[in-house]
Symmetry: C2
Subunit: 286 residues, 2 copies
């Protein structure tokens, strides 16, 4: 998906990309990195809205957060795949860095800081060592924090690098997050299926029969074919209490022989199985 245009009645037309907004979020940043700035980016309010826009082909692709290396899976995204027939067409790995943005030219002038609770939590040690007596105020998004800090004196906001550019609020201190290796993984969803590149990942969902050793049996075909599972996540099926589905990622493409035969084997032990897509592996991941 290196192209940023699609051919439409013989003309090139820029792609329309729906992302989890508002503008300046990490999802926006991930979408920009993947598609460049010549596409049309359309901010959506919820992950559900993004799925709908792509399903109805009002946009070409959607970009949604799926997992963070510290916080784990984004449950409201993963649950969307239960109902949807959209495909995963690529993944994006973005290192999460937090920036202190302010109109002030020195951190000595900062008396209060606005941000989303998660961003404040991820910078807690830095804030304690550098701005111990500053008032911390929670906002519903880092974007609304940036908008507030733009209007006020002696005020900072913790936000993304891109939000500094979009809302024209200068960066006062870079990368104030406490942990390194804070990476969020995003998925691009669409209606097409990328071809094999030789370095691919496949995502599937399945549910297993209720018997001793069922999960073990379902993993056997992968072990036997030497296919490496990179992720296993269980979620409630939402159909019956304590009934689960498993989301599994593994290295390989659905068109490879060994993957096909592993999936055929797996299907025998499953109540249901759905391939969410095969897509090029991003390298930053382990």
């Amino acid at each position: 998906m290196s192209t940023i245009f699609k051919i439409y009645r013989g003309f090139f037309k820029p792609l329309n990309i729906s992302f989890l907004g508002p503008e300046g979020t990490f999802t926006h940043q991930a979408a920009l990195r993947k598609f460049g700035n010549k596409c049309n980016f359309i901010s959506a309010k919820t992950v559900e809205d993004i799925f709908k826009e792509v399903e109805k082909e009002r946009v070409d692709y959607g970009v949604v957060p799926i997992e963070n290396s510290m916080e784990g899976v984004v449950t409201y995204t993963i649950d969307m795949f239960l109902e949807s027939n959209l495909k995963i067409t690529s993944e994006i790995l973005l290192e999460i860095h937090h920036y202190l943005l302010s109109k002030e030219s020195s951190i000595k002038k900062i008396k209060k800081i606005y941000s989303h609770p998660q961003a404040l939590a991820q910078c807690r040690k830095w804030l304690l060592s550098n701005l111990e007596n500053v008032e911390l105020i929670e906002t519903e998004s880092t974007t609304s924090a940036v908008k507030k800090a733009k209007k006020m004196k002696n005020t900072g906001a913790i936000g993304s690098e891109i939000s500094s550019t979009i809302y024209k609020l200068p960066i006062l201190v870079e990368k104030i997050e406490d942990f390194t290796e804070n990476i969020t993984r995003f998925l691009v969803i669409g209606n097409d299926s990328p071809k094999m590149t030789g370095k691919d990942k496949t995502s599937i969902i399945f549910s297993i029969k209720d018997k001793v050793g069922a999960l073990y049996d379902s993993l056997y075909p992968f072990k036997e074919k030497g296919i490496n599972l990179t992720r296993l996540e269980s979620r409630p099926s939402k159909k019956r209490a304590w009934d689960y589905v498993f989301f599994v990622d593994f290295i390989g493409h659905k068109d490879e022989d060994k993957v096909q035969s592993a999936l055929e084997e797996l299907e025998k032990n499953c109540v249901f199985l759905k391939v969410l897509g095969s897509y090029p592996l991003e390298n930053k991941e382990k």
Copy 2:
């Protein structure tokens, strides 16, 4: 743990139980069902506070939510077990029912309804069919909704049965939730280890080596001994990006021979393994 007293310097002393507050939450309801009303119940603000209170032995037990049959695992609770050495001493399964509480005697008089977003979402269909044009207002907890509705005319709150009793606001309509089988599982945490009853469950955490088939190999001892896994959940280790730990529940007690030998086998394939506790199986679960 049928006793509600402990012997202290020769006297019986009621148990102190810390629960996730405020008063009237489902966790409070679960704690009351487990321990009866002769214990001292102490409301805590966060799950972290409950773990601290039990670790420092300022209370005897803590009650925390761990999993809901529709929403999945409570990540902030499960992550606490990574650091803590507390034991799981029992589980509590509570069916979640929502009640419409109000000073009014008829739903025709209700013009607005307060509740937590999750409770509003779980009653959406009922609200649409019965109170279509009513204003819905989100609150930070069902308890604060109940307190608001107690002060206002033409107002309802969606809350628990127990909050009706505690805050003396009458029940106008019972069980207005859209889904049946909405069950939350709570854990009791403490410093002791219950003895085998013959119908027990054990919870463990482990992390596996980074190699093809590692998860499969780690499940083999359970399959071989005929031990039924009831739950498998993966969570970020919070040490390295994309490094996971697995939380597994299975049927059996850690003092049983077959469980001991399965755990010994498992340990050979693990980077680390911790037994969180063996405790009597509650029957409502599948």
